[in-house]
Symmetry: C2
Subunit: 365 residues, 2 copies
């Protein structure tokens, strides 16, 4: 065919090209190819011609042009931090859900990575520059001031935000209850001397788990022993370090019967140290985690933990973002924060059991 101009070969076909090929205008082509009210608008015969032309020219709508005209990119932004350049398991679980739901709704997902929430907060407005229609913040720890940087014109949903994000949807889980249930479970199995390796004190998530731990103890009338509450970071390394330090400085004293770790990563670090000193889990002592990340299933023994529906939260985050985007277009968007709290769930695997028949000591090295 003579329609193939030289320069066209290196350019994607446009609506104008399709229209020309089909002998109609570009907007006719637009209506049948990309338009919403496709069917009503165009005569069936014309419609067919346009479809064929598009097929022949391998027409693909240009996303940028459409976005410019539409003010809609069909893409969702996801912001998260890289700790030491490493995406953590928590993020990955959530992201899994986000990607899954985004795909289902024909949305793209673009990932923005920060190194530090507070320091990089100023980059947030830049993400909302037209390339995304909504923004999902994963586990942000932003101050009230930084939060105010978020522009109004892009709907936002936050997961496990350290403080609720104003005018946004805040998705959380019932961490206090999850911790309570887990510690109660340990108590019912006969444990009394239960240690808690907490997350960084001051972080909402960490505090809630500490509260659940203490409430469970007090509900069972077990006296809270401050030497059994040890602060760690939310990583494997931190868990290992905290546990190691504890063992060193407490050698010769009574070994805790169970250790409730503030997340799975800490539990894994903890397991590692215990294995080094020859203590067996769960026969010598029980170790349990929190989160139910993939890693909880790859430890040996598999980790008893508190399931946070991270994947489902990712899915939900997408759905609520989409809702807000729609509401914003319709002008019906609410300007108030909305908090959604999802339940946690106890997952009993193999890393816990009854306490050993007699008290064990912390080995000295």
């Amino acid at each position: 065919m003579s329609t193939h101009l030289k320069k066209k070969s290196h350019r994607a076909a446009t609506l104008a090209d399709v229209g020309r090929e089909a002998g109609v205008s570009a907007m006719a082509a637009s209506a049948v190819l990309n338009g919403a009210r496709t069917s009503s608008r165009t005569a069936p015969e014309t419609r067919e011609r346009i479809l064929q032309a598009a097929e022949k020219l391998r027409y693909r709508p240009n996303a940028a042009a459409r976005a410019l005209a539409d003010r809609c990119m069909n893409t969702l932004g996801v912001a998260a931090v890289f700790i030491g350049n490493e995406l953590n398991q928590y993020f990955l679980e959530v992201f899994n859900g986000v990607v899954e739901a985004a795909a289902k709704h024909d949305q793209n997902t673009t990932v923005f990575t920060l190194h530090d929430w507070e320091k990089d907060a100023e980059r947030l407005p830049g993400f909302c520059d037209g390339r995304i229609d909504g923004l999902i913040l994963i586990g942000p720890t932003l101050s009230r001031e930084s939060l105010s940087l978020l522009p109004d014109h892009t709907p936002c949903v936050a997961l496990h935000s350290n403080i609720p994000v104003p005018k946004s949807v805040n998705l959380e889980t019932d961490e206090e209850h999850g911790a309570f249930e887990m510690v109660t479970h340990l108590i019912k199995a006969g444990h009394r001397r239960i240690m808690h390796l907490s997350g960084p004190r001051g972080l909402t998530g960490a505090e809630r788990r500490v509260e659940g731990y203490r409430r469970a103890l007090s509900a069972a009338r077990i006296k809270f022993d401050p030497t059994l509450l040890i602060e760690a970071g939310f990583s494997e390394d931190c868990g290992a370090r905290a546990m190691n330090d504890f063992m060193k400085r407490s050698s010769g004293r009574l070994l805790p019967q169970a250790i409730f770790c503030a997340n799975d990563a800490i539990a894994i670090g903890c397991l590692e140290i215990l294995s080094h000193v020859g203590l067996k889990v769960p026969t010598d002592l029980s170790v349990v985690g929190f989160d139910d990340t993939l890693a909880a299933r790859t430890t040996i023994p598999q980790l008893t933990t508190v399931r946070q529906p991270l994947r489902a939260m990712g899915v939900k985050a997408v759905e609520m973002t989409l809702e807000r985007i729609k509401a914003m277009r319709d002008g019906t968007i609410e300007r108030t924060a909305k908090n959604v709290i999802l339940p946690t769930q106890l997952v009993i695997r193999a890393s816990d059991g009854p306490p050993p028949p007699q008290d064990l000591m912390i080995p000295s090295r």
Copy 2:
């Protein structure tokens, strides 16, 4: 001169707005705010005025408009499969590198998920519709026909493609050599009866590992025993199942001294089964993996494995994609496939050791 129309308040400021505010044209603003040759073009004093106006109006360039004019989105696409809706560890490691490098080069990353490479191949051209400048395929297993669907106008880089992608950069690792080294390492430690839990036969990656295994045996003059070569899938479940089946049908026979698993996930499944039947790793037998994913460090004992530089491959994929994008713009792009092979590396951790002093039998259950 009603500068502040009502509708403007709910709209992001444009270059025209900034220009008006600064008393210059939109293109002047464009030049100083977004242009490349910024400094030379504008008088310092004008420049300052424009900058201030932009600041005042909180001007943010609109990505879609820029993309349309530029034909450049500053975003890279990443395509991968979800197996059973689950992103695997392999992907996550690579993705980590991709996101890291993309951030460094001020590129966005958008993720496209497929359920099955071959079935969803037809979706690939749709991704190249102007919203991405380059496409990275992670572990594609596409037929030659499907590969031909990839449009010419978007540069492509593939990682561990089952067959080299034509006209693209193909990043691989020296898997055969890695497998050879690992098995040789086991042989040097005294192992003779070495089992291989392979990946799906027919897949290039799986075959290369089998080849390395067999070459190492033959280099050490150990006769290849076909009953010790068992096919598994590349997942934990598959590894567990394959191992379980083997143990069942071989009960009472000699236990292998070492098991070389085709990836870490298989090794984890294998460890799980061994732990169930009460066999100790590495004292009763050694178990080693391949990949060095995060999971290799969370098993107990930590997994000895062959490190593939997955993260670095992600980084390299981004860099090479960017190179190709640039070359395409300059018209200097090569139309030939380019293969880059990265080295693997032995990582000795705690899941291997010398064979036990006497032969062990496979326990019957």
